[in-house]
């Protein structure tokens, strides 16, 4: 009985909200040229996860989001959302389950924030003033809800778009560059809001350039490079697959730095894979691959160097992963 329940739970955990199969998107350009915006995209999004799509400008992130939202059609390939084939069009009953923020958010400038909420509420058959106020409050723009949207800053429009996307209480949220135009505090608040909806069990797909902020809320990362999915997985998996090393940053007291020979020796002993001696502040970075060596490295340094001021470990994150592919993109160009 317990085993059956556990299996059921496992099945629910792996329930696919979106399934993309062999998606290709070509654009015909003037002069008969063919631009391949998306090439053989295959992945699924599981229920309750936050999937972040990162990639350089023109990598195909927004085209992919538009295809999922039914705003454009793939040249070939299939899309399933909530187990329904939506390759040709996105039906109303599926749209009702998706909250969306487009890449460039724009509203009717002559309406106030509250009127916008009421308008989109009506389009979704929802007439609940209290709910609208609550969503505006959550998005941090309730006080400005009487103002015309034309007077809103870009960040405020993004917040309003977030509130609008929540009107339907959707199961799936799709945010295309949701933090663009937001100030740092706005980005932090947005990240908190994404956490909030994800904690409610909602699935979130977002594209972003603000890497450190989305790193903490993303279950998986999809890296896109020139229209292809270059990598997909959680950050430790991706870092390991790419052979990205962790770093230990050491800082010494009073300008004392261990001799270079000593580092060459521990490198030969394969305790570290490489090292960099900083020019200033008596700092150095040790690169290593295996996590279980951290303790050993700490012990070695603790034992031999009383001049060690502090030591911090920097594991490879989204920035390093993105950087790895950016370099690849530049070399391809």
């Amino acid at each position: 009985m317990l085993k059956q329940e556990l299996n059921k739970e496992q099945a629910n955990n792996d329930k696919q909200v979106i399934r993309l199969d062999n998606i290709h998107k070509d654009y015909k350009l003037r002069g008969g040229y063919l631009f391949k915006a998306l090439i053989d995209i295959n992945f699924s999004v599981k229920e309750g996860e936050v999937l972040t799509i990162v990639g350089h400008n023109g990598a195909g992130k927004s085209t992919l989001i538009k295809i999922i939202m039914g705003l454009t059609k793939p040249t070939s390939g299939g899309i399933k959302i909530f187990d329904m084939d939506v390759s040709l069009m996105l039906p109303k009953n599926i749209k009702a389950r998706i909250g969306y923020i487009p890449e460039a958010v724009s509203f009717y400038g002559n309406l106030s924030g509250f009127e916008i909420m009421r308008f989109f509420g009506k389009l979704n058959n929802i007439y609940n003033k209290k709910l609208f106020e609550e969503l505006l409050d959550n998005a941090g723009i309730l006080k400005a809800s009487d103002k015309k949207v034309i007077a809103y800053s870009k960040g405020m429009r993004q917040r309003l778009a977030f509130a609008v996307s929540r009107i339907k209480n959707p199961e799936l949220y799709i945010f295309d560059e949701p933090t663009s135009g937001m100030d740092p505090s706005g980005i932090n608040e947005f990240v908190s809001l994404v956490k909030l909806i994800n904690d409610e069990g909602k699935t979130v797909i977002l594209t972003s350039h603000i890497l450190p902020e989305v790193e903490n809320i993303s279950n998986r990362i999809c890296v896109m490079l020139n229209g292809r999915v270059a990598a997909l997985g959680n950050i430790p998996e991706l870092a390991a697959n790419l052979g990205l090393t962790s770093k230990i940053n050491l800082r010494f007291k009073g300008g004392a730095i261990p001799e270079k020979n000593w580092f060459d020796m521990i490198k030969t002993e394969q305790l570290i894979s490489d090292y960099e001696i900083g020019d200033r502040n008596s700092t150095m970075n040790l690169k290593f691959l295996e996590e279980n060596r951290i303790k050993l490295i700490k012990e070695v340094f603790g034992k031999y160097y009383n001049d060690l001021a502090d030591m911090n470990i920097q594991k490879p994150g989204l920035f390093e992963i993105y950087n790895h592919f950016s370099i690849k993109k530049v070399s391809n160009d």
Binding site: K66, M69, G70, L71, T72, K73, M89, K92, K95, A96, I98, Y100, P102, E103, A104, V105, S106, F107, Y108, N110, L111, F119, F120, K122, L123, N124, N125, A161, V164, K168
Partner: protein, 279 residues
Amino acid sequence: MINLKVILAISKKEFINRIKNISLFILIFILAILSFAISYFGTSPFGLTGYHGTSVTIASLMSLSIYLIPLISFILGYDSITGEEEDGTMPLLLSSSASRSEIYLGKFIGLTIVISIAVFVGYGISGVIILLKESISHITGYFTFVFSSVLLGISFLSIALLISSFTRSRTASITISVFLWFFYIFIYDLLLIGILVATKGKAMFINNAVIGGFLLVNPADVYRLFTISFIRGLKGYYGLTSILTGKFILNRFLLIFVYIMWIFLPMLSGILIFYKKRY
């Protein structure tokens, strides 16, 4: 399944957006002033001055309708869809639970209400003058004329929305709209007359039925024919269409059918194009 509440919400928004358009107000004002001037002072096209009865007034007002009402319709509808695309509001609108046909119909209804109000306001003063000068029986003829003018506005609105559904920018949409306005209002009849003159009316394929058929391809001519067929005594004042055509072309049922086609065919084509439009 079409949701009426959704259509009404979009209609309302479209209506509120458009009635705030200053150029629309200017055109309605011009329509009102000119219709007042024509109905009270100007029957000059017929060599008359002062008020000379309903038929003469309506004949003069019809010319005004043909120039101004299609123009108002184009101004109202040319950016209804392309405008939302250019302003970036379309993706959010399409992501709502409203279907594309509901969005299109909502816009169409909202704009239809605006053009109807524009015509009623524009011709309201003339109606009051006719009511003061004539018996109540004449006012029905005037109402028929106003109704026909509303249909003229709606048919050109339908064309404007169709243009807006397949163009990608306001510039492209307004260019095509202005061209069509110019073509239908100024060129089309001249072309027909030109063909008649060039062939001296003797070519095999040129006869009343063919010319009549060609007139039905222009909604402005359908408006003329429709109004003439319903208002007694107007035929004598509106020589062009009545001289060119045989009796069949003034068949009221045929004209109602053609008018409805001029409204629904562009509308259905527009919905289909909008359905297939990608962003």
